[in-house]
């Protein structure tokens, strides 16, 4: 009987730990809203303050493959994507990938805290309604744009997107 109790407790603890981890990291991995065009339009330039108050402009990264991520700290699917973006930046940064985050939070402090907590390794700017309008309206989060080395939009992804989709597109452009 002791063995049985021990077995039950062990299984409960193991599955609970796994469940907690799944619960924390889970985001839907379905790809929806992906739009890709051969007739690529130029990604609108912007100049925004980053989380340290320095100016961040898209044009200063021209020549790199850019993954522009519109997100917010309170957005659950966005939060799920960030660690994957950190890995992607690590993996392809040397080959010319530059991920740029544009936070649509209402204030900068939660973004600064999040940046530290998630050990983000790419610049994050603080955007607003004007930036959203520039990109055709950011009316849901996250939204990611993949931009080629000439500054043209290669793909747009609305909603949480599997990192393998971004990786495939980035590799095709590098």
């Amino acid at each position: 009987m002791k063995k049985a109790v021990l077995l039950i407790l062990t299984v409960i603890v193991v599955l609970a730990v796994v469940a907690r981890r799944v619960g924390r990291d889970w985001v839907p991995v379905k790809v929806h809203g992906a739009k890709r065009s051969d007739n690529r339009r130029l990604a609108p330039d912007f100049s925004l303050p980053d989380i340290n108050g320095q100016k961040l402009s898209l044009s200063s990264y021209l020549g790199k493959v850019i993954l522009l991520d519109f997100w917010a700290t309170w957005c659950v699917p966005c939060r799920g994507e960030i660690p994957r973006f950190v890995e992607l930046q690590n993996k392809y940064g040397d080959r010319g990938l530059q991920i740029i985050g544009i936070s649509l939070d209402d204030s900068p402090q939660p973004v600064r805290d999040f940046y530290q907590q998630f050990k983000m390794n790419y610049p994050v700017a603080l955007g607003g309604a004007k930036t959203g309008d520039l990109y055709g309206g950011i009316l849901g989060l996250p939204i990611g744009f993949v931009i080629d080395r000439d500054g043209r939009i290669y793909a747009k992804h609305i909603g949480a997107t599997d990192i393998s989709v971004f990786e495939k597109e980035v590799k095709a452009l590098l």
Binding site: A4, L7, W26, W74, V76, P77, C78, G140, L141
Partner: protein, 166 residues
């Protein structure tokens, strides 16, 4: 007798294993549920579909509901339902305070429609706390706009009316 008990020992162990798996699954689901924030816990009868709200907004009736956006101010400034007001993010205490202040003087039978549309419905952190807040204040007619994916996809892209500006 001892032999019979031994024969059923593997069955008993397997049954216990199954039971523990079920208990663990229940525990996992409870961990995922995050009561208080999940939009999916809003009762179905309190939901209103976009096409239904469009009809109400566009109807000539003078008694319109008070429509409040309880999500992101940045998203609100880009596009919102005409006549609606921004009432603070339901996921934050300061947002709920803004909401309370807005509705405090209203009669408790005022029809109020809440919406957010920041994220897919099951991930929206704002609508349920705002809904619970109004219910706790005694409001009896609170509807929540069901937005499956986001405001862009489920409202703007469908050609429903919008207004811009903060």
């Amino acid at each position: 007798m001892q032999n019979v008990a031994d024969r059923f020992k593997p069955v008993r162990t397997f049954a216990l294993f199954l039971l523990s798996c079920l208990l663990s699954c229940a525990f996992a689901l409870a961990a995922r549920a995050q009561p208080g924030s999940a939009a999916s816990s809003i009762p179905t009868e309190a939901l209103i579909q976009p096409e239904e709200l469009v009809r109400i907004v566009q109807s000539g009736k003078s008694a319109k509901p008070l429509i409040l956006q309880v999500g992101s101010n940045v998203l609100y400034a880009q596009a919102h339902i005409p006549g609606c007001e921004y009432a603070g993010a339901g996921s934050t205490e300061s947002g709920r305070q803004q909401l309370r202040k807005r509705v405090d003087a209203l009669p408790r039978n005022q029809l109020i429609v809440l919406y957010c549309g920041c994220c897919p419905w099951s991930h929206c952190p704002n609508v349920n706390p705002a809904y619970q807040e109004l219910r706790a204040m005694g409001f009896t007619k609170v509807w929540v706009l069901y937005i499956a994916s986001n405001f862009g996809t489920d409202w703007v892209d469908k050609g429903y009316p919008i207004a811009k500006g903060g």
